[in-house]
Amino acid sequence: MNIIYNLGFSLPAVFNQGVVIAIVGYCTVFSALVVLYFVFTYLSKLLNLEIRNRLRREGKDEYAAVKDLQISGDESAAISMAIYLFHELHDVESNIITIKKIERAYSPWSSKIYSLRRYPN
């Protein structure tokens, strides 16, 4: 079995030790994430409770009684898109179209007479 090293001690002892480490280690990893699972499952409920209390204090009992206070990712994406479209894409225009007359004082430097070809008389 021992194809690489001559370890100098019996393999079954090490192997048994390894199996114990593996079982205890795996259980510990699992327990760490199970604890996180419980904490974050109940944390959201705790936060919802706080939101409901706040809504009741503000007199919004009908909202506080809603069964599911959370909105889905799809709904929040739709709301975000709507806000974006409202603020970013709709220009506010005056709807008044005018032609502004621009007056310039005469100057020989910009006179058309000198810039147009005149036919000989």
Binding site: I4, Y5, I21, A22, V24, T28, A32, L33, V34, D74
Partner: protein, 449 residues
Amino acid sequence: MALRKFITIIGIIAVLSIISSCFGSSEKSDNNMNSGNTSLVTPSGDIDDNSINTKDSGAASGIKKFFEYTGFSNATPGHIIMLLVGLFFIFLAIKYDYEPLLLIPIGVGILIGNIPFFQTGSINLQLGIYQEGSVMNYLYFGVIKGIYPPLIFLGIGAMTDFSSLISNPRLMLLGAAAQVGIFLTFIGALFIGFNLPEAGSIGIIGGADGPTAIYLSSKLANGGIINGIQTKNLIGPIAIAAYSYMALVPVIQPPIMKLLTSRRERLIRMKPPRSVSKVEKMIFPIVGLILTAFISPSSLPLLGMLFFGNILKESGVTKRLADTARNSLIDIVTILLGVTVGASTQADVFLNSQSILIFVLGAFSFMVATAGGIMFAKVMNLFLPEGNKINPLVGAAGVSAVPDSARVVQTQGLKEDPSNHLLMHAMAPNVSGVIGSAVAAGILISFLY
């Protein structure tokens, strides 16, 4: 007329070349004669043949010495094999886009580490990564002392959004289940003869997390005496195996996913994740840090930095620090880590039967971890009500390999149903896999160090 001109010019050139060659050869012969006279005739007037031999042998020995210092003279088949491996990594990264940010630095590192140069026991040219005082040796310090992996974790924390995990905490269990690969490989490595610390380092390949693998092997398989057991330096092979299999996740995982799930299971649609409040996102890294570090204090360097990076991101008041951690810092450390890990695979250290065994065990580890996540999802489905079931493909993302394994889940899900997007669901076990593998590394350190 033109012909006469052409013949004249050619004639002049020919005459000039003949004259110059005659004068040149006569000058050379004069020089030779002169040098010959000075060298041949000794002050006493006797002819000394040895002087010629000495001069020739001096030049020859100089050239010979120069040649001995070149890579051509010192190249061994091992060097050539490793150079080809490095080129293969670069090819995979460029041609198939397999983790190019990792495989290019590692591939180039393998080339740098396997350029053959003159080495004898007493002479230290300060070139190789294992030669004290070389630039590469200084950079390698960050690997052997486990400095780079926590810095990488800081960057990962600053770029990870845990909201998919917070919105559906039960998917966290899939990340825990997939860590079975680590511990089964640990037992497998012991079974074929590796000692305890080495087996622990090899097992962590199943965590599919490069920095964690490097961190653990730098602690447990660094060539020193760990807990009274002499270990071999396995950092290079373990890191290369971990990163290679991470790059090959799109190749390794899909067949296992198909094998272990039915078409009906692959078509399961999961409820869209709820939106997560800012408060929850801020609480997660703080509570996560305290809980996991209390359970496994040895994983503190990794998890501490991971959650610290996430606090930088989610607090909303340290945008500059978060930006640096997730961009510049992680890029710099990735470059240094990739090149030094690649360069540490010098042929004489890397090419041996152990490396091959480590690669075999690493592949086994990845497969078991993938299967573990999928099977646990199927077991969970037995207890979950209809309409709230988990698509078992998501379990495959429990092996960390962020975000590649989640991407593989998304691709496989889309192949079965082009409108079933599993990416967000898969990210939950994916990031919990990172936490799980770091906790596992901490536990192995506390048992074996």
